[in-house]
């Protein structure tokens, strides 16, 4: 059962109120360390930091509308070899938390001693846009929060965020609730586990009035509806852009085989990618053989195979965080393609990545009568 509490915002300063919260977590020993984004002094970006000393908690701001890395990767890095021996609080957006749940199922991360702190997400700018906004001298985070309060949708947010229908975190111990809340006055802190409730207890927060929770739920529903509509519009276009091999090749044409999309993907967890393996170290006569047979071949080879293989490996777990698109130097719409295929594939198995640790990965289960609804020709 979820318990909702109210955290008063002091002096209308949301960031400072939250900072106080992070400090309390460390000071009260509720966590031994905190994995949290902090703003760079220049203000042009944020970085993830693992903070053990509360004094070093200088400029934490998980609300900054920018996401340079999917934090699930970092949690995996920290906990794959051995689970965390100490209690670590991890502050995550919904797509990060969902990716982390998938990685746990894929045995690439452990939640032992991890306290999951989820934050409501209004969306993020690309690192480049954020930097440019900051260099203009304005404070993009303040402007963003102001816009959100006024209910404005910023069309320059990342497209994946504009179509993200999971703005609130799932499976968090503690959720920082902002959507539908007048966060100049107060925010909602929700606990969905015993771990989370213990923290609420220790922070001595008072229960929220039921009306606040209802208000938030209504706002969430509205936002999801709006984003789902947006999603369908965008993906309809993507569908057109990649229908048929010619369109698909045209869309992938700017790809330069840098494999950045793979390197930043939270679900591409292989120690060594198949495409970097000796299988693809071919003798020159192979290349010449192909060339002779077809008259000409595109070099480097295997561009399409790379994308399709990566897709077949991770698309049922794809959370649509869009890191792949951020990393692409040539703006190949990989995120939209993966989102589209992911959505369709996940639907078949009634699977939502990150929904639950209990849901088995579609590839690991076999039901005799599955896939009957899949038409032979899509």
């Amino acid at each position: 059962m979820t318990r909702s509490a109210i955290l008063e915002v002091q002096n209308g300063n949301l960031i400072e109120t939250l900072n106080n919260l992070w400090r309390q977590l460390l000071e009260k020993g509720l966590v031994d360390a905190l994995l949290i984004p902090q703003e760079l002094p220049s203000g042009i970006n944020v970085v993830q930091t693992l903070v053990s000393d509360v004094q070093k908690l200088e400029s934490p701001n998980p609300l900054s509308p920018v996401m340079p890395v999917n934090t699930a990767r970092i949690v995996s890095q920290m906990t794959k070899v051995t689970p965390s021996p100490k209690k670590v609080g991890v502050v995550l957006r919904s797509c990060e938390l969902r990716a982390l749940i998938e990685l746990v199922k894929l045995k690439q991360a452990s939640l032992e001693n991890i306290v999951l702190i989820g934050i409501d997400c209004f969306g993020t700018y690309s690192v480049k846009d954020y930097k440019n906004l900051a260099q203009d001298g304005s404070s993009p985070k303040d402007a963003f929060i102001k816009a959100v309060r006024e209910g404005k949708e910023d069309p320059s947010l990342r497209q994946v965020c504009q179509m993200c229908e999971y703005p609130i975190p799932m499976n968090a111990d503690i959720t920082i609730g902002l959507i539908g809340i007048d966060f100049e006055k107060s925010i909602l802190i929700q606990a969905s586990s015993t771990e989370g409730e213990a923290i609420l207890e220790a922070l001595e927060l008072t229960d929220s009035p039921e009306a606040e929770v209802t208000k938030r739920d209504e706002a969430i529903a509205k936002l999801i509806e709006q984003r789902t509509k947006k999603r369908d519009e965008i993906l309809e276009q993507t569908q057109k852009d990649i229908s048929g091999i010619d369109n698909l090749m045209r869309t992938l044409a700017p790809c330069i085989n840098c494999h950045n999309c793979r390197d930043v993907c939270p679900l591409c967890f292989c120690k060594e990618c198949f495409f970097d393996s000796p299988t693809f170290e071919m003798e020159s006569e192979k290349y010449l053989g192909w060339s002779e047979r077809k008259g000409t071949i595109r070099m480097p080879t295997h561009t399409l195979l790379f994308h399709l293989t990566r897709m077949s490996h991770m698309v049922t777990s794809c959370v649509g965080c869009g890191m792949c698109y951020e990393a692409c130097p040539n703006e190949v719409p990989v995120a939209n393609i993966f989102r589209l295929v992911g959505l369709n594939t996940q639907k078949i198995f009634d699977y939502v990545p990150g929904r639950s640790l209990e849901d088995e990965l579609p590839v690991t289960t076999y039901q005799e009568r599955e896939l009957l609804g899949v038409p032979e020709k899509l």
Binding site: L106, K107, F274, T279, K286, W290, L361, V363, T364, T365
Partner: protein
């Protein structure tokens, strides 16, 4: 004592029994009077409850390169089994342990080693007779292949219809046909004999009221099976014989040849196969109207009731309870119609396009003669008589029986008995295990680790067959030009002995270390070619076969140009595969020769003894302080036998057997490891034991009686369960002289929403206790309120007896259950009388509830051993029909009520079967894998365990210290599921590496 066994009858029971014996170290002669193996099963299409084919699942899992690993409809080979087709036993001398069997072997007329199955002989044969295999739905020739898929068995002459015109002899390109062959006699020394000669389907012709053979659209269930089969005369289409049109409606008539005065037994399998046939027909055409006319729907096996419900609900098969007296035919439309009295007393009038007679199982008339030769008694129906409480023992020592030869039964029960018979033989001959097993000596495999690939391609022309399709000159040139090829040759018949000798010579001469045979079906000749390779010191992994004949000649007779293109590609693929192939050698793992049996009830005791009496050590763990389990509460058996004497005898033998280590009040708390190498920790009331090492585990943890809370059970002393009644009858507590009337209610706690399965034993219990009551006091009025009386097999006769003695059986519906009330001292039972529709009100002195069997809480053990449970909470076997006592996880076996509800004799057979399956592991020195198997590239493995979940054989686990996955070689079957799922390319399949597959793809395009 002789370590060899003669198995008579090569149907599925005989094959299974032979494989189990062969796999545990005995030499087996598998004889059949027919020229082919497979028996009735080869004629059937698919099977309930999963509607799949699955015969191949009985094939060996270990040392799989040594035995056939393809469909049993095609054939079978195993190093320890000698097939003796066309053989009948004419004389048996000697006695148990030392028999001499004389076999008369009819001439095949075709020399198997020369026959290339080209079918030219059959094409020129002028004689046409109805095909037995297709049940007369089409004709065959006098020289023929019985089963269209059975290629490795070759052709045979039916001497009865052959006119010896000699046309085939002239046509045969390999001079394989010999019309002058004569009957031979062969004498075999064997220690034991197993009779698995099956049944004959009832011939409904004498039942003239059904018009079989007179009305073309009345067919038998086996004919219908042939129609459903893709290899059948209609290629899987259901067509009315009268007009070759698909029918719109089909009726299935049950109990044709069963449950009559002349044959007062139930054939046990027909209800289920009719259900299956109706469902398969519905799958083909959902618009089809199917209706089953039955007396009792006997869906009593594991999962069968669910299948019945599914047939009714999901597939819309209709069911009507009545026996059809006669079938009439509309002379114009050839439609069939009939009228019968329905359950409700009203008239049932129906018209159908097609009527299928569900024909029963009858004993083969040959049994009379065979019984005399073997010196065994038959029962009054002509089936082989078995000993009380020993379902596979005949009246003759050393002669055992399994399957439908002793009583009608279905595939699952036949296979259980086949393993049980193997177990009884193994016990008898255990001192001779391994004595008669011969292995061929091959030269040591050459070390090719440094050698460059030198390939030879041998092209078979198959006489004219391939040569007429392909330009062989062009093929030769093409082959010569391929990379790494040092020798190319064409031969007319590569399968012939002298051709293979020449091949071996060429391999040596040209120092060839990679070979491609472009010839024929690998199923037919792979063994020959592998043998040739091993003769010259090459591992068979360096051999590739291309099936020119089936993949080119049989398919594309008019497309020579395309055939040529395809042939080149096929050869290029094979060459690429073999060129990039590393030499593979066999891997093996050691075996602990001791078993752990969990549970000390009837099943556990029987299994433990069955292993110990074969010479294996057994650790027997029983949770409670007392042995015997549920057997303690059973005092009589419908078919006879003393359960309490049985229990005492088993306990005595277990306690006295020096090989059995008994642990009472002991639970298994931890198990690790895998087949051949388990480690188990036992804990008793005082302490946790040191871990024990065992090669196999048998689960015999039992089940429980359902505790009723319905029908006023808790409210009156006069309401009791069948077990309580039995107890009171045995102890004499119940005074039967005082009883006026007794009501029994069946299916209490069974076959309902909560427990949708039949408990199988309760109907027998009700009949048994009714007879017992009637015997003590014939005046008692007994009413048995039932839904379907499950008196399958020979239990039917007792059901008849009970009715003759005046026991009234009244049917009720699940949605109109009987009502029981108590008014003062009086017990009132009310139920709807189906024929009148009125309420039948009885005030019995006793109300007996036939309560079913419920599973124990099996979750803890299942989780410990990584086993699955069924939806009903029983343990889930590997496959309900073909691997009924195995688990998906190798080395763990299942018997007794932990598997599903069953009677005492059935439990004994199942426990012996489980023991025998365990013995096939324990009796090996080492567990050997196949050459093709999977490996892990540890550097690349991310430890995501996707492969662990994908592996159907549980051959993979994660080494948590290293964080990578490890393969248990002996368990890996080389299926490649791990390779498909591994995103990192860390899972690798020897013989199908990425490099190989990419090379092959290149060769294709």
């Amino acid at each position: 004592m002789v370590g060899a066994v003669l198995v008579i009858g090569a149907g599925i029971g005989g094959i299974k029994c032979s494989l189990d014996l062969a796999e545990s170290g005995f030499k087996v002669y598998l004889a059949d009077q027919s020229p082919f193996i497979g028996g009735t099963l080869a004629q059937l299409d698919r099977w309930f409850p999963d509607n799949h084919c699955g015969m191949c699942k009985i094939l060996p899992i270990f040392s799989r390169d040594e035995s056939s690993q393809f469909c049993l409809r095609r054939g079978l080979y195993h190093p320890n089994i000698e097939l003796l087709p066309l053989s009948t036993v004419s004389q048996i001398d000697g006695n148990t342990g030392n028999f001499q069997a004389t076999l008369s072997i009819k001439p095949r007329g075709v020399r198997k080693e020369l026959c290339v199955s080209c079918d030219l002989c059959a094409q020129v044969c002028p004689v046409e007779v109805p095909s037995e295999f297709n049940e007369g739905l089409e004709n065959r020739k006098a020289i023929y292949l019985r089963n269209p898929l059975a290629i490795s068995s070759g052709y045979a002459i039916d001497w009865g219809s052959c006119t010896k015109c000699g046309a085939c002899v002239e046509k045969c390109p390999t001079d394989a046909i010999d019309l002058s062959q004569e009957e031979e006699t062969r004498k075999l020394d064997v220690g034991a004999i197993v009779l698995s000669a099956g049944f004959e389907e009832f011939n409904p012709r004498p039942w003239s009221q059904y018009g079989y053979k007179r009305h073309p659209n009345v067919i038998t269930s086996i004919q219908f099976e042939r129609m459903l089969s893709a290899s059948g005369p209609t290629a899987g289409e259901i067509l009315r014989p009268s007009d070759n049109q698909p029918p719109k409606s089909i009726a299935f008539l049950q109990c044709v040849g069963s449950r009559t005065k002349e044959r007062d037994y139930c054939s046990s399998a027909c209800c289920m196969y009719a259900l299956k046939e109706a469902v398969l027909a519905k799958e083909k055409n959902p618009e089809l109207d199917t209706e089953i006319f039955y007396m009792d729907l006997r869906a009593f096996g594991k999962g069968y009731y669910r299948y019945y419900e599914q047939a009714k609900g999901e597939f819309g098969v209709k069911f009507t309870r009545c026996r059809i007296p006669t079938i009439k035919q509309d002379p114009a439309t050839k439609n069939l119609f009939f009228t019968a009295i329905g359950e409700d007393g009203g008239l049932v009038r129906r018209e159908f396009d097609l009527v299928v007679l569900s024909v029963g199982q009858t004993p083969s008339p040959r049994f009379l003669e065979l019984g005399e030769v073997l010196g065994i008694e038959l029962n009054k129906w002509g089936f082989c008589k078995t000993q009380e409480l020993s379902p596979t023992e005949t009246s003759q020592d050393g002669v055992f029986v399994c399957g439908s030869a002793s009583a009608p039964k279905d595939i699952a029960d036949t296979l259980v008995e086949a393993s049980a018979a193997a177990c009884q033989v193994s016990k008898l001959l255990s001192s001779q295990r391994g004595q008669l097993i011969t292995t061929k000596d091959y030269p040591e495999e050459l070390d090719l680790s440094e050698a460059e690939a030198r390939a030879a391609i041998f092209l078979c022309t198959c006489g004219e067959e391939i040569a007429s399709m392909l330009d062989m000159e062009e093929m030769l040139d093409f082959a010569k030009g391929l990379p790494g090829v040092v020798y190319v040759e064409q031969t007319p018949y590569l399968c012939q002995k002298d051709a293979l000798e020449q091949v071996k010579g060429k391999i040596k001469e040209h120092e060839v270390n990679r070979v491609v045979f472009a010839a024929c079906s690998d199923i037919t000749y792979e063994k020959l070619f592998i043998d040739a390779m091993r003769d010259v010191g090459l591992t068979p992994s360096l051999l590739e076969l291309v099936n020119f004949r089936e993949q080119l000649c049989s398919i594309n007779p008019d497309h020579k140009k395309q055939a040529m293109e395809k042939a080149k590609i096929l050869v290029a693929i094979a060459l690429e595969r073999v060129r990039t192939q590393e030499p593979l050698h066999l891997v093996s793992q050691n075996v602990e020769h001791q078993a752990l049996v969990i549970g000390g009830g009837l099943a556990g005791l029987t299994a433990a003894l069955s292993l110990a009496e074969q010479g294996f050590e057994v650790q027997l763990a029983e949770r409670t302080a007392e042995l015997g389990g549920n057997l303690r509460h059973i005092f009589s058996i419908l078919e006879g036998g003393d359960p309490q004497a049985l229990r005492q005898n088993l306990i005595k033998r277990v306690e006295e057997n020096p090989l059995i280590r008994l642990h009472t009040e002991t639970e298994v708390i931890e198990v690790s490891g895998y087949a051949g190498n388990f480690e188990a920790v036992l804990k008793d009331t005082d302490s946790t034991h040191e871990p024990i090492k065992v090669g196999a585990i048998i689960i015999a943890t039992g089940g429980e009686a359902y505790e009723p809370n319905e029908y006023c059970y808790d409210q009156s002393e006069s309401v009791m369960t069948q077990a309580e009644l039995e107890q009171q009858l045995a102890s004499g507590k119940l005074d039967v002289t005082e009883l006026g009337s007794v009501v029994m209610i069946q299916c209490v706690g069974s076959r309902d929403k909560e427990r949708p399965y039949c408990s199988r034993v309760c109907c027998s219990q009700a009949i048994k206790n009714s007879l017992s009551l009637k015997e003590r006091n014939p005046e008692i009025d007994i009413f048995v309120l039932h839904r379907d009386v499950m008196s399958y097999g020979f239990k039917e006769e007792y059901y008849s007896q009970a009715r003759e003695k005046g026991v009234l059986f009244v049917n009720y519906d699940l949605d109109r259950k009987p009502e029981v009330t108590i008014e003062g001292e009086r017990l009132i039972v009310q139920t709807i009388e189906p024929t009148t529709g009125g309420v039948l009100k009885i005030e019995p002195d006793l109300l007996i509830l036939s309560t079913g069997i419920v599973p124990n809480d099996n979750n803890i053990l299942a989780q410990m051993l990584n086993l699955e449970l069924t939806e009903d909470g029983f343990f889930k076997e590997a496959e309900v029909k073909f691997r009924p006592v195995d688990f998906v996880i190798n080395g763990i076996f299942l018997c007794g009520l932990a598997h599903s509800p069953r009677g005492i004799t059935e439990t004994i057979a199942q426990a012996q079967a489980a023991a025998q399956r365990a013995a096939s592991i324990l009796s090996r020195e080492r567990l050997e894998s196949g050459r093709v198997g999977s490996e892990v590239n540890e550097r690349r493995c991310s430890g995501c365990e996707l492969c662990v979940s994908a592996c159907p054989y549980n051959a993979r686990f994660k080494d948590t210290d290293k964080g990578v996955v490890v393969v248990i070689e002996a368990l890996c079957q080389g299926c490649g599921a791990c390779v498909a799922i591994c995103p990192s390319g860390a899972a690798k399949l020897r013989g199908f590496t990425d490099k190989q597959v990419f090379s092959v793809m290149d060769a294709v395009i």
